[in-house]
Symmetry: C2
Subunit: 160 residues, 2 copies
DNA sequence: ATATCACATTAGATTTAGTCTAGCCTGCTC
DNA sequence: GAGCAGGCTAGACTAAATCTAATGTGATAT
């Protein structure tokens, strides 16, 4: 990824291009696998120890606020981060918690009236299930299959 | 809510109906506002100090695994819990982080082929924006409006 | 050139949210 | 009533993230 591009995207969002902020952004761009804050800190700090933990977290916060980076919360696991390139949805694995990109498509807005006084900014879809790796290996362990076997036994329809 | 109903739903999911487990479930049913684990612990423990923190968390884990309760992760905040009654989606407030129920509707499945070897269990929609309270009070502060003003200034289209 | 100011960064302490441990209790079966 | 499994407890522990108080950096003003 061209350094000039990162520089420009930072500055056009009103953020100064400091070495630390640049490094966080560059790492996110060259590693599109939704790393956690801890992973980002470790990698950036190893490459250049001039970026402390507090700075990594501060910069992630700033990048999210500026709309350049997305934070993805995952149940029971550390948050993951994602440079906002092309629009996309997310698939989250029930077993390993990994986050994967899914092709984007338009989501129908909520039915008229159900919104009340709320202000809608975004509709996103989250797909859940087993990632390719988890679906293949030992397809019969983990949360997902525990659930399945309970339901199978009870002939119950799960409601989400 | 009828105690018998709770009892039955626990047992038909293969969970024993202990006083502590019942209390957690009962609290979730009579307080449909997506409380955090800490709130649940505090309330249940106050009503009956025989339910410790570990037990509250263990029971929440068991209830989620059994499919009776849903856990909702929220960026930068504690997870929230939700009894699975009628199907519904969620609205999460950008500013205060509250989680609100939204009328359910069918979500189009991901386009054929984009799923690969993954196993799909669920598609859920998450709406984001400002809740009624936050939309009304001081509609011009907070993350949302910082973003908006940056974009307005730059004439930039946000991509999610 | 020097002062000033806002913003950025730092190491490490602190808080928050949740998990783990080791032992005890309770109800069921033999 | 011994044995056993599941459940419960207090409190220690851990992971993730935030806060604090001090320092650094670079732009502008004098
Ligand atoms: Mn992504
Ligand atoms: Mn809900
Ligand atoms: Zn997986
Ligand atoms: Zn709100």
């Amino acid at each position: 990824m061209n350094p000039g591009t990162i520089r420009k995207s930072l500055e056009s969002s009103g953020l100064r291009c400091t070495p630390q902020r640049f490094a966080v952004m560059a790492f996110l761009m060259e590693r599109p696998g939704h790393p956690t804050a801890a992973e980002i800190f470790e990698a950036v700090n190893r490459a250049d120890p001039r970026c402390s933990r507090a700075t990594t977290y501060n910069n992630l916060r700033d990048l999210v606020q500026a709309g350049l980076v997305r934070e993805v919360a995952v149940e029971g696991r550390a948050a993951r981060f994602d440079v906002k390139g092309l629009r996309h949805h997310h698939f989250i694995c029930d077993r390993c918690g990994c986050v994967e990109d899914m092709e984007w498509y338009d989501v129908p807005r909520p039915p008229r009236g159900s919104l009340g006084k709320r202000t809608l900014r975004q509709c996103e879809v989250i797909f859940r299930g087993l990632c390719a790796k988890c679906a293949v290996s030992g397809a019969d362990s983990g949360v997902r299959s525990l659930r399945s076997s309970v339901e199978e036994h009870l002939h119950v329809q799960r409601r989400d």
